[in-house]
Each structure stands twice: as C-alpha cells, then as structure tokens.
Symmetry: C2
Subunit: 313 residues, 2 copies
C-alpha cells in the first residue's frame, strides 16, 4: 500500500494513473483521500478554513479506512464530487493486490502513515504547481484564473501548516522541475529529482544506472534541506529517450517480472509523455512488489526458464 501526499495540483493523480494503467485496475485499487471532506462546497463558504485543514476532513475515519484497506477489508468510502461540490452517496471499495491512497493529507497522522509500505511526497517548485493548478481548475473545474490565484493565496497558510510538513514523513520525495543550471524554464520537459530516504529499502541503483546511462540518470549523496543525508536520484528530461528507456528496463528487470515493461508508465494526460515520470513510477512499482513479497514472481520466472539478463544490456 502506497500513500501519495502533496498539495493541490502537485501531480498526484498523474503519478497514480500511470500505476493503475501499468498494473490494471483489477490489481491495484486507487482512492483519493480528499473524499473524506467533512463539508460540501456550500457549507465551506461559512467556515474559517480551507479543504487543506484537517478540521475540514474526517481524518479519523480516513485512518480507519486506510487500516481496513491495509487489512484487506472493504470500506464504504465517502464521495466528494469535484464537479458539483457536494458530498454524494458513498461507494464500496474492495482492496485488490495493491492499494494507492493519494490526496492532501494521507500522511498527516501517525496512524495513517503506519498503514503504508511506502510513502511519497510530491514537491514541485511553487511556480510549476501554480501553472498546473490554474490550468486544471480553469479547464476542468470551471474557475476563472483570478479565482484560482486568490484561492491559492487563501490556502497558503494551511498548506504551510498541514500539507508541507508531510514531506518530512515521506520515504520518497519527488520534485519535477526544470534544470536551472542548463537555463531550462517551466516550459521545458521537466526532470525528476527523487530523494530516497533511508527509511525503507530502495532498489540497488548501482546496477541500474551504469556508466552508459549516466546522461539519463545519476545518483548522488546529498544533504536534504533539513540537513539529513539522502540519496538523490536525478532523472534528466533532456536525455535521449532510448537511454532513459534502458534505465526503465533495468529497473523493471530488477523486479524479476516476467512480463514486458508495462505501457501507461510516463503518460502525461492524453498525449504527452515524461520519461522521468516513468522512472519514478517504476521505483514505486519496485516498492509495491517488494511489500507484497516478490518471491512468487521470482519463482515463476525461474520455472519459465527466463534467466536474469545483465543489467547494462
């Protein structure tokens, strides 16, 4: 079970959808914990906080439901309708082999965090997130651009108080951003900076990233903004696609999966594609498979007579 936290329009749904497409919705169950909103849009107008505030959400019920899903039990999940702003009839969610819970506050409490095998925080630069939020809320939720801007301002104190502190609790922090040293702008394809905290066992990337593929991705020992050491994986958007695909195939083989690399990874909306996104998704698949216990798949591979291939091929 993976928990993905991040502010509004930080890329949670895009990251999640690629995983669902890769594994198929019969193998992976995705829920959005923003459905645990306590108030509908009309009720919120009279309240002194935004949906980012824990008091605006049934955090205790979210915890319960995450625990139940982690135990393989179904939950009757509430539904917040983003189109109408109403709380609708709940839906039954039955957890399949893997579960993703994404949203604003999945890592807010200790009990919620304890449900996850791997936790992720999406941490785009604010300038990128604003662009994403304006684009989505204007196109899909019927807001005007200045409404989105004033809402962002209104939410800022609660983002600082409740959303961003979740970063400290994530096993993996992901930042999609342009590479400033190369003079890139937010209009360029975004590279991924992936901080791998030593809180869980990450894949051995020394085998995945070879001398040949250094242009596509490299690993660096860094200090995080809090001063703590982390392994930082940098996946370059400017690299040739064929090079990044080699990294992806190597990561996939590290999972001992007999199937070919799934499609759907790296998809951006209906048209676009991001190789760094695909690499991040493969890392999450690694953790999902590891949490489930990869033994079965390895045995199946051996039975089928498929030999592990050299990592740099």
């Amino acid at each position: 079970m993976v928990g993905i936290a991040g502010d509004s329009a930080s890329g949670k749904t895009t990251l999640t959808q690629g995983l669902v497409e890769a594994l198929g919705s019969d193998r992976i169950t995705a829920i959005c914990v923003d459905d645990y909103h306590r108030y509908d849009r009309v009720e919120r107008k009279g309240l002194p906080f935004t949906p980012l505030h824990p008091a605006c959400n049934y955090v205790d019920v979210m915890e319960q439901h995450l625990q139940l899903l982690a135990l393989g039990q179904p939950v009757l999940k509430p539904v917040y309708n983003h189109g109408t702003g109403t709380l609708d009839r709940p839906v039954l969610v039955e957890p399949s082999e893997f579960v993703i819970a994404e949203g604003l506050l999945p890592l807010h409490t200790r009990l919620a965090r304890a449900c996850f095998d791997v936790t992720v925080y999406l941490d785009p630069p604010e300038i990128i997130r604003r662009r994403w939020k304006v684009k989505r809320d204007v196109a899909k939720r019927g807001y005007a651009e200045d409404e989105v801007a004033s809402e962002l301002a209104r939410r800022e104190p609660e983002s600082a108080a409740y959303i961003r502190p979740q970063r400290a609790h994530a096993d993996i922090v992901v930042r999609f951003a342009p590479i400033e040293e190369r003079g890139e702008t937010p209009d360029d394809p975004l590279s991924a900076y992936v901080m791998l905290r030593p809180t869980i066992a990450h894949p051995d990337l020394s085998g995945v990233i070879s001398e040949d593929t250094r242009k596509a991705a490299h690993l660096k020992l860094l200090r995080d903004e809090d001063g703590k050491p982390v392994d930082a994986l940098h996946v370059h958007a400017y690299a040739e696609q064929s090079l990044t695909e080699r990294v992806q195939r190597a990561l996939w083989r590290a999972l001992h999966e007999p199937e070919p690399l799934p499609s759907g990874l790296g998809r951006l909306g209906s048209e676009g594609r991001s190789e760094p996104l695909a690499v991040v998704q493969l890392l999450l698949l690694f953790h999902l498979f590891q949490a489930r216990g990869g033994g079965e798949v390895v045995r199946a591979t051996a039975t089928a007579g498929v030999e592990p291939q050299p990592l740099s091929s």
Copy 2:
C-alpha cells in the same frame, strides 16, 4: 450496546425512541442499520430481491461499523433517505455511553452479533405487524394500502429466510399482542410477552414481581417454539396503571439509579402510552447499565446517602 432486530414495522423505532428519550441523546446513540442499503429505490426496481435480502445491504460494512462503535470509535455511517429513496451523504456517528443499533439485519451474522451486550428480536403476531406497516407506510411514506399489501407478499420469502431466523439469536424476544384467552382483539391495548433466554444474566425478577403485582406481570417457565426452556415474563396491558408502575419502579430501583424513573418510557407516538412497553424498555436499560458496569452509579448512590428501598413498596 444493544441490537434490536425485527421485520419492517415490528416496533423497533418505538422501542428505541423511548430509550433515547429516557437517557437523553447525549448518553445514548441510536443508529438504524437499514442505512446500509446497497441500492437506492430506483436501482432496486431492477433487482430480484427486496431490502430484506443481505445482498441488498452492505452487511460487511455494517459489521465493521458495529465493531468500531463497540470499541468507542466514530464511524461515517451511510444514509438511506426513506422519503426520497436515495442514498445521501454519510453522517459521522460518535458513540456515546450507550449505543442502540436497530433494523432489519443487525443479528444476521456472527460478527455483528458479537458486538452487542444484549440482543433483542421483536416478534409481533403477523396480523399486528401488518396493521402497523399499513398505517405507517400510508401515513408517512406515501404508499397506497394495496401497494403495502403487495410489498408484504413480495417480501415474505425473504422475511422467512433472513429476518425471522434472527429470533434464534436474541437474548430477549418481545411480542406485543392481545391476550386471546381474554377475548382481546388487536384494537385492545397490547400486552407484552417477553422471553428471557438464559444467554445473558437477567435481573432477578422474583424481587421485582411480588404477590401484590401479580396482576400486572408474572413470570413463567415455558418451552419456546423450538422446545427450549425460557423464562417468560408476561406484562398485562389490562392491569391497573398504578400496579404496573410499581413493577417499573421496582425494576428501576434494581438498577441502583439515584435519579427518578425517567419519563419517555412507554410512549406510543405523540399521544399514546403502553405500560408493558415501559417494562420492556426498563429491562433493556437494566442490561445497558449492567454492560457498562453499574459500580459507579451504585457508589454515587451510597455517597448520596440514598438507601435501597424495599422492592415491594
């Protein structure tokens, strides 16, 4: 925590409301488990079963929520709107000191039954229940009398298959009925036949029912319809009210409650009153207080210097 099962219009709400009024809604939380309907009224039209069928309900989620409430945790309870026949936004239910769960299927599964300290099945004669159902559904739910009759016929096989088997799992079976030996009809005030199964510790009624009050209530060793021995308490509606009230006061004192006998017990709708109903409600209060552990209240009584009074006074 008490579970009250029974077919549609068997008197569950009336029994429950008296308990809520007696203790106050800050001390007792009442939920209706029919809110766990899986389908709304429109969806049910195309289905081969009625709301009495377990497949028409989220029985597994009901079990979960009963367990959570039993542990003192809040639940986000679904809501079935009897007025519109729709499934509406869920509501947060936080269990108070006591909890009542009433409805069609609260005793259907072992796990649900395990949540209750005392279980009740309401078992009115079918002729009485039909009258109650027609009266309510025509007055409050906008149905015509012949619609109610055909719905009763349609539900009968599922009532036999799923509702009535719960009777076997109840600690207390209550039947409000006229006394045929006295030539009473359903229009007369109804007496209560209360079967007290030896599955839980009932109050010592030998002290409550004295020679003086035999006309109001008596206790008899009987064989149930399944052949098993039960203590049957019979509370006579024809007895003088003052006599039945003595039984009630004696039962109340047996609870070691320092407060006076609460009002609200025995209330039938906005106007009527039933002394046998009040006695049944007092029996349930006995079990609720006993489950909570009566010690505190007894100590409070002693501190206040209130001596237990002789039971027959």
